[in-house]
Assembly symmetry: C2
Homo-oligomer: 165 residues x 2
């Protein structure tokens, strides 16, 4: 799956953000030397459909926080990130941060001092409406906490010159 | 402390490796598209001095694995990394991997599927003999596991054109 980000036509800074097992927001800030703004496009609590229940290994109908955000630097969108997080697995307090505010997930994990593991599940090239004709690197990964999936995340990175930072 | 890596004279790929809260080896592999070789310069089990005991929050005389390695791509040294790890905090089996072989720490953590947190403690510009007159970004961080320091790590990155990848 790593071949999707190995092409020489993919800017190095994009390869890095799509390949890290750390926080993308932090990398973007180090890379640009500027603040990253998280803009929430959608956020809601849903009941898990059979597919989502299977993905997250929870019961159908369990409550899940669904969040769709963009990561922006000076008004330019670098990442579109969708996340699904079972409510019952969140440490108390974390739910409010996830729902309320435009806080990056890496920061939330640090603030709550959680010990976690990131498992990268898939990396591929796709298309997404938000980015029109621009190809997009899409990757899926899970954040594991206490041996369960605390969060499933899909990040999409447009492949173009905005990454020539 | 982040100012040390914000300078525009520091190549972007170096800023990223020194700023990530993920695995540096993985970033280097994504960045270069090549394998990273870990070369062990020194490895020994020592008894904790008072200073090391304080650093790791263990008792004086407790056993500690001390490892000094370089991360190399095609014979070029990109990172000099020193680590201290209290033996008693390692999950069984991990000790052998740390001592025996030239395996990157990020890979060891993934192989044992550990849930951890990386806390960056310090980033500064220094000099190190290995790199002669070349300035070096030095950063210290700890890998936290079960609320204790599993490992203290100091990584040194030479600041020169080898990072213009």
């Amino acid at each position: 799956m790593w071949n999707a980000i190995k092409g020489k036509d993919i800017p190095a800074s994009l390869r890095i953000c799509a390949g890290t097992d750390g926080s993308v927001t932090q990398l973007l800030e180090v890379l640009t030397g500027k603040s990253v703004n998280v803009k929430t496009q959608e956020q809601s609590i849903i009941k898990a459909s059979p597919d989502i229940a299977r993905l997250l290994d929870i019961k159908k109908g369990d409550h899940v926080n669904r969040r769709l955000v963009t990561l922006n630097v000076e008004g330019i969108v670098f990442v579109l990130a969708k996340s699904l997080a079972p409510i019952k697995r969140m440490p108390s307090g974390m739910k409010d941060d996830l729902m309320r505010a435009d806080i990056p997930i890496g920061k939330i994990l640090r603030d709550y001092r959680l010990e976690t593991r990131r498992d990268i599940l898939r990396i591929e090239i796709v298309h997404r409406d938000l980015f029109g004709d621009i190809p997009v690197i899409s990757r899926e990964y899970s954040i594991i906490y206490k041996k369960k999936m605390l969060m499933w995340i899909n990040e999409c990175f447009p492949v173009d010159d905005r990454w020539r930072i």
